[in-house]
């Protein structure tokens, strides 16, 4: 009963072999089954998430949020799904058909494929590949591609503008994200996700390398293009960004992909910095591990939504400046610092808690120093302050004027 | 299983196609893309030889990594050249650029 998932798996395996299938075939079938399960799980999660998200947004923005369909409007998402499925697909003239249709799928796939390598619990892993981290980054780059395709193929300059903007942003924000991802790899001495999680017991990398965690959070929020980085769908400037022309389930796919991506970021945060599935008794009861994993992920998810619901959108040049002039240099510094400190401490080989303490203090020092320096340097572009314009002019003031 | 020669022939095919692209395409960006194809074919050769001859030593993969670096820089510079060229003469066809021709 302890290891529920693996028990089921072995049972199924024996069952299929018992039906007279070759072992390789059995493996294959099980793998397909597993992936399908994961995908379904993702969709279910998303459906839940959409409701949570909307409720949360409502509460934060001092509204009720969905409250018609069902108790507390929990059936809202299903209603949306039905609506989306029944909408008409519009393909603009002059659009590049193939790309236009591939793009949402790719966007969807690029998020889903990441889930293939997540260790949900001890020995509950889709594909335990040795280069998990790189895999995640590589697959993530497909998302960019999808956006580019969508923006270019739908023959629409708003879409194209949004796409080019987002690509510029995503490419530049990939740098600090990858650099921050390098730090858990460096600390765990492996690119294998389960190895990284093992290395985080009992001290999470959130404590060992706080800067990396913070920067990873920031840059992945930019990656998922949520506020305050949601310039690729700045309604006021370009109608809806790259998916302006999409409708129906194609739009739905982008939508789901976005939500799922946010949740995936939460999962990544969990794996890399919050100790993944590790927790009390998780080693012996993998099912607990799964629960821990999803709980942590959900907490991070909520945090992200909280941030994006509270912060306003920032200007593109400021955003790029933030990236190129602060995040990238500091993350490089952080990488160097962590590498050196880790090496030195390995030489000294102190007690684990001393190691962690030193790392934490160093990171904090670096963070504060860089913030101080950044505060000292004046911005590249001088921002013009407009005087507050009088919205309404009282007649007295008019009379006194004339 | 799969003998080495298949991979080699596959790589040769990619290489030849890339060569054709380099020789025949008008657009400079297309030429760059074809060059990418050729480089990839070369990488496939490296890896295949690594796998089939000396999997114990990483030489093949090392070379592949170096090739990645080379192709990345080549593309970066090439595209930058294309952009600045486009700014000046508004066309990026390899054989229509004749500023330096008699």
């Amino acid at each position: 009963m302890a290891d529920l998932i693996n028990v089921i798996e072995s049972w199924l395996y024996n069952l299929i072999v018992g039906w007279g299938a070759s072992q390789g075939l059995a493996q294959f079938i099980l793998q397909v089954l597993g992936s399908v399960l994961v995908v379904i799980l993702c969709f279910v999660i998303v459906i839940a998430l959409i409701w949570v998200e909307r409720k949360l947004a409502g509460r934060i923005q001092d509204r009720f949020g969905p409250n018609r369909a069902g108790p507390y409007g929990i059936f809202q998402s299903f209603a949306d799904i039905i609506k989306i499925f029944t909408k008409e697909y519009v393909t603009p003239t002059g659009a590049d058909k193939g790309l236009f249709n591939i793009a949402p799928v790719l966007a969807m796939a690029s998020v889903l494929a990441i889930w293939a390598v997540f260790p949900f619990a001890i020995n509950v892993i889709g594909a335990d590949i040795s280069v998990g981290v790189l895999y995640i980054v590589a697959i993530g780059s497909f998302g960019i591609l999808a956006i580019l395709m969508a923006g270019w193929s739908s023959n629409n300059r708003f879409a194209l503008l949004g796409a080019s903007r987002s690509v510029a942003m995503l490419i530049s924000y990939e740098i600090p994200m990858v650099i921050s991802l390098l730090i858990p790899v460096l600390l765990a001495k492996s690119m294998n996700l389960s190895a990284i999680i093992d290395a985080q017991r009992p001290w999470w990398f959130l404590i060992v390398a706080p800067i990396a965690a913070l920067f990873f959070l920031i840059s992945s929020m930019a990656e998922i293009g949520k506020a305050p980085f949601d310039l690729l769908e700045a309604e006021s400037e370009l109608v809806a960004g790259y998916h302006t022309e999409y409708s129906g389930m194609k739009f739905g796919m982008f939508y789901v992909a976005e939500f799922l991506h946010q949740y995936t970021v939460g999962a990544l945060m969990t794996i890399f910095f919050l100790g993944g599935w590790s927790g009390p008794l998780a080693a012996t009861w993998p099912i607990l591990g799964v629960i821990y994993f999803f709980t942590k992920t959900f907490i991070v998810y909520l945090m992200i939504s909280w941030i994006r619901l509270s912060l306003p959108r920032i200007r593109i040049d400021e955003m790029l400046n933030l990236n190129w002039k602060f995040l990238i240099p500091v993350s490089f510094l952080n990488l160097i610092m962590v590498a050196v400190a880790d090496r030195v401490l390995m030489e000294l080989d102190p007690a684990r808690w001393i190691y962690v303490g030193v790392m934490f203090v160093l990171s904090m020092a670096l963070l504060l120093t860089s913030l101080f320096v950044a505060g000292k340097t004046k911005p590249a572009v001088e921002r013009v302050e407009f005087p507050p314009r009088a919205v309404a002019v009282s007649p007295q003031s008019d009379r006194s004027k004339s | 299983m799969i003998p080495l020669s298949w991979y080699l022939i596959f790589a040769a095919a990619l290489f030849s196609i890339g060569l054709y692209g380099v020789l025949a395409r008008k657009n400079i960006i297309a030429i760059l893309m074809s060059i990418e194809l050729m480089l990839t074919a070369i990488n496939i050769n490296f890896i295949a030889f690594w796998r089939y001859s000396l999997p114990g030593q990483m030489a093949g993969q090392v070379f592949a990594v170096i090739v990645f670096a080379v192709s990345a820089s080549e593309v970066a510079v090439g595209l930058a050249l294309v952009i600045s060229l486009f700014r000046r003469v508004k066309l990026i066809a390899a054989d229509e650029i004749n500023l330096l021709k008699w």
Partner: protein, 168 residues
């Protein structure tokens, strides 16, 4: 017909077709997309060759960076009054013949060569490719020099491309 063989042939067909599409399609963006497919096929080939690291790097570098850059450049350098004329120049038949000759020659060569008719030796179980690769790349009595050269090359390319594309 085992799974691996099937995947191999699938990969070969997809990749070659995509490559042909790259060099033939009139529309540059399509060509770029096809290029990505071809490169992805190459990544699959690497996976089949059990070079996972190289495969992932292939995807990361080519599809994540290079292809996106190419598409971006295409968008930047598209002048509105450009008709997709014949994408090839006058010498394309010779070029095609030449490439065909090359391919046939190489194929014949490989096919007849006995050394190439070998099967892959079994990988030793303890082969930890990535760490070994990393150690080789930075160990002074292995490939540290080419590695550093590559890094310098990358830096030079970075600066050079910025300088070249700088808007005066």
């Amino acid at each position: 017909m085992s799974l691996g063989l099937f995947i191999f042939f699938l990969m070969v067909v997809v990749t070659v077709v995509a490559a042909v599409a790259v060099v033939t399609s009139q529309n540059l963006v399509n060509a770029a997309m096809w290029l990505m497919v071809a490169l992805f096929g190459a990544a699959i080939a690497f996976v089949l060759l059990q070079a996972t690291y190289i495969a992932v790097i292939q995807v990361l570098v080519y599809i994540g960076a290079i292809a996106v850059l190419i598409v971006y450049t295409i968008m930047l350098t598209r002048n509105p009054d450009e008709k997709y004329g014949p994408g090839v120049n006058k010498q394309w038949p010779i070029a095609a013949a030449l490439s065909l000759v090359l391919f046939l020659g190489l194929a014949y060569f490989y096919y007849t060569l006995p050394q190439t008719d070998v099967l892959a030796p079994a990988l030793s179980g303890d082969l930890n490719a990535i760490s070994q690769l990393g150690a080789l790349l930075v160990s002074p009595n292995a490939y540290v020099l080419p590695f550093e050269l590559a890094s310098i090359l990358l830096l030079a390319a970075l600066i050079g491309s910025i300088v070249v594309a700088w808007r005066k």
